[in-house]
Amino acid sequence: MEQLIQQLVNGISLGSIYALIALGYTMVYGIVKLINFAHGDVFMVGAFIGFYSITILDLGIFPALLISMAACALFGVLIERIAYKPLRNATRIAALITAIGVSLFIEYGTIYIRGAQPEAYPNGIVPLKSIEILGVKISGQSLLILAVSIFLMILLQFIVYKTKIGKAMRAVSHDQDAAKLMGINVNNTISATFAIGSALAGAAGVVFGIYYTKIEPLMGIIPGLKAFVAAVLGGIGIIPGAMAGGLLLGVIEALVSAAGFSLWRDGVAFVVLILILIFRPAGLFGKNVREKV
């Protein structure tokens, strides 16, 4: 029993990371109907920026987290402006192929610049101590991941539902022309969406580095794909869906490992993807919304 709860805790920590990445996928999809396959690589870049902030600039994890988020936000906006914006009216497949190209460009650009060797986040940088509840040990890293992700998700909810830019984002994702008629600047709103999504990926990169220690230039591929699965699982384009999908996927993986099939961990995510596409293609939170016309 304790073993099971322990695994659940691990699953939730891992799932929070997936959820943070999945949010960026889902927000971008919601607004420009593009699966941004370069999103996992923004996560990787975030992990490296966090790493260099801690090791070279000698900063604590929270300043490093902020720097990484800010840099990734900017990076995301640049990607959108340079690679995707010229294709705004092109076919969706053209944009999708471009996204794959951008992803490879970032991966191998990073290798070109700094080499392919992995790095390790230093130990003992987490200010939180591990705690024990009912015989279950929750590490400081897990607590940090949970605290950071819960805080960011609440912040995101606030931005999306209560602020002007959030309302503009929802309006543009629903109907771009109608949004224009309200005086909303659609280009800026799309940039803001990329900025927010990429900042979350950057944060996920830093907490991933703190939790798993090892980072390398191709580290974004698998978590990126799994976060994509999480976004589809929750219902692509639906923000609470990405959160739930990420957590659920993390827990499923942890339970599969706990059951002794840890080699199957990575495969399970894709089994989940296939099952959801067969039985509930709109995702867990997706409804076939019937709107009166």
């Binding site: 629903h174 224009k180 008629l181 005086g183 600047n185 919304v289 709107e291 009166k292």
Partner: protein, 235 residues
Amino acid sequence: MLKINDINVYYGNIHALKGVSLEIHPGEIVTLIGANGAGKSTLLKTISGLLKPKTGEILFEGEHVAGKVPQLIVKRGISHVPEGRRVFANMSVEENLELGAFLRKDKKAISEDFEKVYGLFPRLFERRRQLSGTLSGGEQQMLAMGRALMARPRLLLLDEPSMGLAPLLVKTIFRIIEEINQSGTTILLVEQNANMALSIASRAYVIETGKIVATGTAAELGQSDQIRQAYLGGH
């Protein structure tokens, strides 16, 4: 107030508006009538900046606005209620109205305008917390109009406000259009229901395959045999 001189608009290779000119004076209700596909909505979209004319000019209160982005045009004082209402179905009535005032910063005046819109459309006040996708067609039309009014326009463009509505509701909507006009907003009304449109308009233009083919006071056009046969189902 609005003066359109000889504009040409294309959709790709299709020449949708062919040298259209039109003028609206302050305080008027002007209606544009014509069959499906004649270019009525295209003209409204060009005025509000969703489409750019290839040639020709649009002057609003003396300023050139042709080809400007919708954001600037809304700011100048033109609001467009698009065909099919296009409310933000995933948001509440209140949020839709807030978005109508997106470019405004005068909080106090905005809350006054909320009162005004709710006064004009009491139904929207009753349903202000409801998702707008769950409203009936007539309520969505009211919301689309209320949302446009939240920008405090001096010129309101209405595209087919009666579309798909029951006759009784059409009457209500037209009564409200007159009310909006009487409180000082100039209106350009696009309608297929030409009878209703002519009954509240002061002047009218008739558009056929991208060209203005007739213009005059609403009374004149209402009596013209040609117009009656083509658009009014008259005898």
